[in-house]
């Protein structure tokens, strides 16, 4: 499992890096210049929401507090995503150096990796890696001789709750509470872990930082599109010859990706995991980018033999399972949408009712408390829309058993 088996190549993250080098460089810069470099790079969050990283860092840097935290979000619960696992196993130097640079930039003393319970088997190797960093003075006091810069990182194990990837639910669970999302504002940049200013960044976001520090924002910006600069890791699974993690510039078309991974007879591509959107053939020229087909990296491919209603059923079961139940639109809404899918399966539905469910799906997007409820109807709405004919022209008027 944990072998560095595949030789990976890519323009940024998979381009080669020497542990500690970006920390050395960052410590020779002043903090404002690091913030400017990150801002100029236009780096945006890789965890799904795409928030500008520099804005988050600047707000936390500006917050007055004797204590600040850096949290690396390694909850990676979105179905179809596994790139953070690959980073933690094969490129821990990028992730942790990114955390150290963030800490120096905003003045944090403590970092926490929130590792999903499903990745417990990585716990020991991450601990060992951090211990080595301490020995090499990449963590601890006066890091690399920088007087007064002290920072350490611990690993916290989650316990199997998708919603804990949401940053405020994550913080709640770190504090020993149920992993229920908070109302925002206030945001973690001001009132985060233990009420202190906190950066929550995705594993991949942090892993990108050392490369930007080493090679500069100009270099980074040359890749990608205007609104989505640089490259992205895509976790590709489903019907293709070469599933795995790919680093590609933002703006890559779905069809280009399909070719690269040798997918044949593709009928549908789910972009962004269960909480993302499902595209049909006529949409494969869409670009993978924040401004078009946005994604935290999950790409699931379905060929002509797949039943899209079954796919949708699987996604809706997931959300019913994972809704934290705190707010009604999400708690009840997902159950209703799942019931609707089962009704279609049995052929016991009216279009009047299905249309009501679509309205419900749209209400959930605005009325739910956190991102889970905001996005859990995306699959329902996009699959019913983009695979309308297949779904409502099922054999036996929908009453087929498979």
């Amino acid at each position: 499992m944990e072998t560095k088996s595949k030789k990976r190549t890519g323009p940024v993250i998979f381009s080669g890096y020497e542990r500690g080098s970006a920390i050395t460089k960052a410590l020779s810069m002043n903090r404002e210049d690091i913030l400017l470099e990150i801002r100029e790079s236009k780096l945006r969050g890789r965890g799904g929401a795409g928030f500008p990283t520099s804005t988050k860092w600047m707000l936390t840097a500006a917050a007055l507090s004797d204590e600040k935290f850096i949290i690396c979000n390694a909850d990676e619960g979105e179905p179809g995503t596994f790139k953070d696992r690959v980073l933690l196993i094969e490129y821990p130097e990028l992730v942790f150096d990114g955390m150290v640079i963030a800490a120096y930039t905003i003045g944090a003393q403590q970092g926490i990796v929130y590792l999903r319970g499903e990745y417990e088997y990585l716990y020991k190797s991450l601990q060992d890696y951090l211990e080595q960093m301490r020995k090499d003075n990449l963590l601890g006091k006066d890091i690399l001789g920088k007087k007064g810069f002290a920072f350490d990182i611990s690993v916290f194990l989650g316990s199997g709750a998708y919603v804990c990837g949401e940053e405020t639910a994550l913080i709640e669970s770190l504090e020993g509470q149920r992993g229920e999302a908070r109302n925002r504002p206030p945001y973690p940049v001001n009132t985060g872990y233990m009420g202190k200013p906190t950066i929550v960044n995705n594993v991949e976001t942090l892993a990108t930082v050392p490369h930007i520090i080493m090679k500069g924002s100009e270099w980074y910006k040359k890749m990608g599109t205007g609104k989505s600069s640089g490259s992205k890791l895509f976790s590709v699974s489903g019907d293709c010859e070469k599933p795995g993690v790919y680093e590609l510039p933002w703006g890559t078309k779905i069809s280009e990706l399909l070719q690269l991974v040798e997918a044949a007879n593709t009928k549908a591509v789910q972009v962004g995991g269960a909480s993302g959107f499902c595209y049909n053939k006529s949409q494969f020229d869409r670009a993978l980018a924040y401004e078009d087909a946005a994604t935290g990296g999950s790409i699931m491919i379905f060929n002509e033999s797949r039943d899209m209603l079954k796919v949708l059923d699987n996604f809706m079961e997931f959300f019913v399972d994972e809704s934290c139940g705190q707010c009604t639109p999400c708690r009840i809404g997902n159950v209703k949408l799942l019931e609707g899918v089962k009704m279609i399966h049995k052929g016991e539905y009216t279009f009047a009712y299905i249309n009501k469910l679509k309205e419900l799906g749209k209400s959930m997007q605005v009325a739910s408390k956190c991102g889970l409820g905001h996005s859990s109807s995306n699959a329902f709405l996009s699959i019913l829309e983009n695979f309308n004919e297949e779904i409502f022209n099922r054999a036996n008027g929908g009453a087929n058993e498979n």
């Binding site: 179809g80 499903e118 316990s159 199997g160 599933p243």
Partner: protein, 157 residues
Amino acid sequence: MLVEEKNALTEDIEQLIKKFGKKRSALLSILHGIQVKHRHVSEHAQQEIARLLDIHPVEVYSVLSFFAFLNTNPKGRNLVRICQTISCDMKGKDNIVRAIERELDVKIGGTTSDNKFTVEYVNCLGLCDEGPAMAVNDQVFTKLTPEKAVQILNKVK
């Protein structure tokens, strides 16, 4: 005051508190530690954790009941979790589940009569490019076939 006789469970909790701190933010780590060792967090354990952290037992139960990987009733000695997410589903997770059910004479969600295995579904294990995947305790296995899955479980003590 009489010196209370500490049972092993209390000692375990004290060890965990020593490691993670006597504070609310250590709660999930403590619960996890007890779960791993005792395969559940009993009512007695909840009360002891609450007492030692100086919080109400209901606070402990409230957190415990939130998380899928924590449970109040004992499970089998080994926990088998099969990924049910669509990528593993498409690679044949149903066949894996049926083979395991047949071979261990257990229904998914249940525990074998000798208490050796509890078999469950789990949401995405993050091994989607190598499915079907399953976890046995804290180890993961990928690219399963029905036969391979059964062989793996046969080797478990």
